[in-house]
């Protein structure tokens, strides 16, 4: 995929915000994320893109979680934009308040709320749904690393089935996170009929930037769900974050699509669909499915999920490189 590298010089049009000489550095160096943190990378790319598209007029409300903790420990602050943190489960409501206040003051400031998957799909689900339903003028970005990382890798409702977390340890009875569980929040967002919903991945930064840039200037509630691998929680070398993100997209486990006003309007087809196993084998959280006590049935279950995604979101067919 020629469009997925930062600083692509082949075509000016395909350049990412990150490759601009005037990239805004909204999330600056010096924060405390782990090396290779997918969330830090995604936040920087997303917020830089939003900043770019809104000409600097953005304000951020951050839920509690890794992103909040690593970016802002008094007296340090890695953000170059107005930023606030209130609680774990209320970022959508706080953002509603910020957006309403900007509006009554006649200020053109685009408001972003952001949080991890736990903040989004679990504890903040009520406030998120309220913000969607009222169609408040907020862009919500979920950085989905598929577990509660900041508290030590516990299961959330975004944890994939069969994955190992600190609260879904595989043993002789259980094979990781139980089958038949989990919540698809992009689909729930679409069901609210809000103007814009998209999924994105740090494996495809240009696409991520375009989606955020589009979303930030739409009036009403918007939702962008970004897949962000976590070396600590998933168990892989810190140099492989992008590789793993790409593997998730290429096997269909993480489908990339866009929806407008309650309907899916497009998806990013996969050039060459890869087997799920290639993605799983890269991570320790799925290691119990292979090796001595291999569980090919479990791998098959995960393959079914990926294949269903490929069918549902029309991901096979390849893209034409420009």
């Amino acid at each position: 995929m020629s469009n997925s590298t930062i600083g692509n010089r082949l075509s000016k049009k395909r350049n990412s915000v990150q490759s601009h000489y005037d990239r805004p550095n909204t999330l600056n160096s010096g924060h405390r994320a782990c090396q290779g943190c997918g969330e830090a990378l995604a936040a920087r790319c997303a917020i830089d893109a939003a900043y770019h598209a809104a000409k600097g007029n953005i304000a951020i409300v951050n839920a509690t979680g890794c992103l909040e903790v690593f970016s802002c420990v008094f007296p340090e602050n890695a953000w170059n934009v107005p930023w606030m943190h209130s609680l774990f489960g209320n970022a959508p409501s706080v953002a509603t308040g910020v957006a309403a206040a900007m509006q009554v003051q006649g200020k053109n400031v685009r408001v972003i709320a952001q949080g991890g998957d736990g903040a989004t799909t679990d504890i903040g689900m009520g406030t998120l749904s309220g913000m969607f339903e009222r169609n408040d003028d907020v862009l919500y970005i979920c950085y989905d690393n598929q577990a509660y990382m900041n508290t030590g890798v516990q299961r959330s409702s975004a944890t994939p089935v069969l994955a190992r977390t600190a609260t879904t340890l595989p043993n002789s009875i259980y094979s990781g996170n139980e089958l038949g569980t989990g919540k698809n929040v992009p689909e729930i967002a679409i069901a609210h009929g809000i103007p814009y919903v998209a999924t994105a991945s740090i494996a495809n930064i240009k696409d991520l930037e375009e989606k955020v840039a589009k979303a930030i200037n739409i009036k009403g509630a918007k939702y962008v769900h970004i897949h962000v691998p976590c070396p600590l929680g998933w168990g892989y070398p810190t140099s492989e974050t992008i590789k793993i993100a790409r593997a998730a997209v290429e096997c269909g486990m993480f489908p990339l699509f866009e929806a407008e006003n309650g309907k899916i309007v497009g998806s990013t087809p996969i050039e060459t669909v890869k087997p799920v196993e290639e993605y799983l084998r890269l991570q320790r959280r799925f290691a119990h499915l292979f090796g001595k006590n291999a569980n090919p049935q479990a791998v098959e279950e995960l393959q079914k999920i990926a294949s269903a995604n490929i069918e549902k979101y029309k991901l096979s067919g390849g893209i034409v490189n420009v």
Partner: protein, 398 residues
Amino acid sequence: MLFQLEGSQAVARAVALCRPKIVCAYPITPQTHIVEGLGELVRSKKLENCEYINVESEMAALSVAIGSEAAGVRSYTATSSQGLLYMMEAVYNASGLELPIVMTLGNRAIGSPINIWNDHTDAMSVRDSGWIMLFAETNQEAVDLHIQAFKIAEKAKCPVMVCVDGFILTHAYERVDLPSQKEVDEFLPDYEPHISLDTEHPTAIGTMVPPEYFMEVRYLAHKRQIDTLPVVECVGTQFKEKFGRKSGGLLHEYNLEKAETVIVTMGSVAGTIKDTVDELNANGSKLGVLSIVSYRPFPKEAIREALKNAKEVIVLEKAFAVGIGGILHQEIALALQDLGIAIHSVIAGLGGRAITSEMIREYFNNKKHDNMVFLGLKEDVIDREYRPIKNSECNNKF
């Protein structure tokens, strides 16, 4: 101008006179009429340049106010009881972030068992949260305290909770004097936010504070609350100068010069107590009443001064801490500890149980004042329902 109004409508109109730009709330009895009133004022454009946000929970109600206040506009919400507990995390957050939100608390009991009627258990559950907490005695004072609350909050950089007894005040029709918009505008200047999400000067609000600084943050919050005592007092005085009536301030003193026994209380029950005290004093008793308006910050010195001539103090309150006893009682006892005054505790009016003059008279007729009395407790129900815990394995040392 004088109006015959339901307490909630009077509060709604007082809040509207303060020109909030954001009002958000979630329904809970007995707060509902206040926010319905405000919603109607916003929708009919009688309250202009204000957005009314219908949220999905109390957690959202206070969180929206946190966001809007942090983005620089005057914000208001209201709740009661279970709603206050549901937003509890945000209650501490609002004071920690120093956001001068004003919230009405229509005081109501907390379940289980669920009970929609008045007592002060809800307010007591947030007494340590860092909010300024003012208690209204009458509907007129409820109106006046809201106008003062915005001024106090914005001066003190601290949220203010105005406690208004559920039903007893919120649903009672009384005559109230509502000031004109012009008068309120003169009294309450435009809101100048002290922190705000500003794209010109980006700052981070609500960062994590590590052990190296956290003690200082908390200490400073305490110091600032203590510094707020003269602010509460002074805003009350300014209010009297402007509107010609005494409302608010730290304390209301009634017949304290001659009193040997003083009843200390908070909220609307002070009225019943004063009436009863008048009757009893006409028959030779020497009783006075001290009602606390500013519960937080706690006016310890002013209370000591007001009670210095008392021989006996009876703290009558509509809440208590299960397993210990009266909450206000403990605080008053601590404030007066070296003055040699006998202090008794009366728990009354829980879950909306009426507190009548007869009950208070009977309490005084029954000369020996036990340390803790539950006024009007139905002994027959207790006898029927009480089951001692069978505990033969442990010898009973307590």
